[in-house]
Symmetry: C2
Subunit: 244 residues, 2 copies
């Protein structure tokens, strides 16, 4: 049986905690990881604060296969992610010659100290870069450090994921219940208990007639087990709708 591969996300940035910027990265990475068979187990959002970053990073990197961070790798004083990651790993941090060369080529005399901060990479890290990414991300041990700007973060995900191990993909199937969540809670619990190798979720929504309705989602890594549980869910729902 294949290994279960797990992950945590660490979002770094005062602007998320103040509400000034609405995070768009958690949902994207969550969906991305699900699609490649990596189980996202936990997300944390912390401020641009060295102590907070290191504490959260250490908690997540010791617990999960991978940690994905977003934010704090720009050119200004509040961008302290790379330094904090280096401290967490107790390694040095230096200007990476390839990145410095690219910055000098791109900016000439404007390759100032602030810009060159973005070329500072913890010792031993591998770059996450492409021709269209100015300031690279990096991977050190099991920690993947990415930009906070969604388009750049998304490009970095595409670059780094082929280098990661992925697990057996979680399969899922969903059915519209045409019932209120409270109407199916009892039987759904019984089906969940009879199918412990699946995970059954129920998600209420208002349907096109403004009536409370529910989506039931069954998840499993095993196709046959998923199908068996879903068959029971559908039989239960059919009985319910006949009775109405």
């Amino acid at each position: 049986m294949s290994e279960i591969v797990t992950a945590g996300i660490l979002v770094i940035g005062d602007e998320i905690l103040s509400g000034r910027t609405k995070d768009k990265n958690i949902g994207f990475i969550a969906e991305y990881l699900t699609n490649i068979g990596i189980d996202l187990k936990e997300v944390r959002v912390v401020a641009d604060d060295e102590g907070a970053i290191i504490e959260a990073l250490d908690a997540l990197r010791n617990r999960y296969t991978y940690v994905f961070t977003t934010g704090g790798i720009g050119p200004t004083h509040d961008d302290i992610t790379a330094d904090s990651v280096a401290k967490a790993f107790r390694v040095g941090i230096h200007h990476h010659p390839d990145v410095v060369a690219r910055f000098r080529e791109r900016f000439g005399a404007d390759a100032n100290e602030a810009r060159l901060r973005m070329a500072r990479i913890p010792d031993g890290a591998e770059l996450i870069e492409s021709a269209t990414i100015l300031a690279p991300g990096f991977k050190i041990d099991n920690v993947i450090v990415m930009a906070g700007v969604p388009s750049i973060m998304q490009a970095m995900m595409d670059i780094i994921t082929p280098r990661l191990k992925s697990g057996v993909r979680m399969l899922s199937d969903s059915v519209r219940a045409n019932a209120r969540e409270g109407d199916i809670g009892g039987p759904l619990r019984a089906i969940q208990e009879a199918h412990p190798d699946t995970s059954i979720g129920s998600y209420p929504f208002l349907d096109e007639n403004g009536k409370p309705n529910t989506n039931v989602v069954v998840r499993s890594r095993d196709e046959a087990r998923l199908q068996a549980a879903m068959d029971e869910v559908k039989a239960m729902l059919a009985g319910l709708n006949v009775a109405r």
Copy 2:
């Protein structure tokens, strides 16, 4: 000098971690708390898993003035927030007579065991309820437990916040730099260091001409200090634009 009031958010739900549902609550609560002078310090997202919920809740509630949770208070087997909160506080959990009465009035014979699960409230908690909220949230000690559905969560925020202490509101002012972040990183750092009672953030964006631009935000609880730092930022930017 007034007390600093802090908060953490705990988002509970497998559907957020799988990416199936995109969280809309973190950004809303973050902005809401900023507006009432409460500093959001940390956010965590965990699965519908008792151990994970209790661990995160204990970490946050022992560290911050308030913890706001969203999700996991519905009628189905995967809604385990109320039970997990009761366990974290080592108190019992029982059907609340007022809530049971309302459910029986509303649902009659359909007030089944699943629905009545939503009436289970940890001992000693106060309800967060209104005529339009079917399943109440609750507050126990410094923990505020709310629904995951955004419209209901937002109604609960309006109900509970008058009962919370709020701090001195963080003031903020922003200016469009008309410069790339890397152009102002050096001088901005110097201004930040000269104004330690303010927090200066810089946020890159692509402007209407598709050119890299930057918003600079100065935050402080003291109006005069904010103004002094912002004056220096604006003077720095004016000098920069003259030079271009």
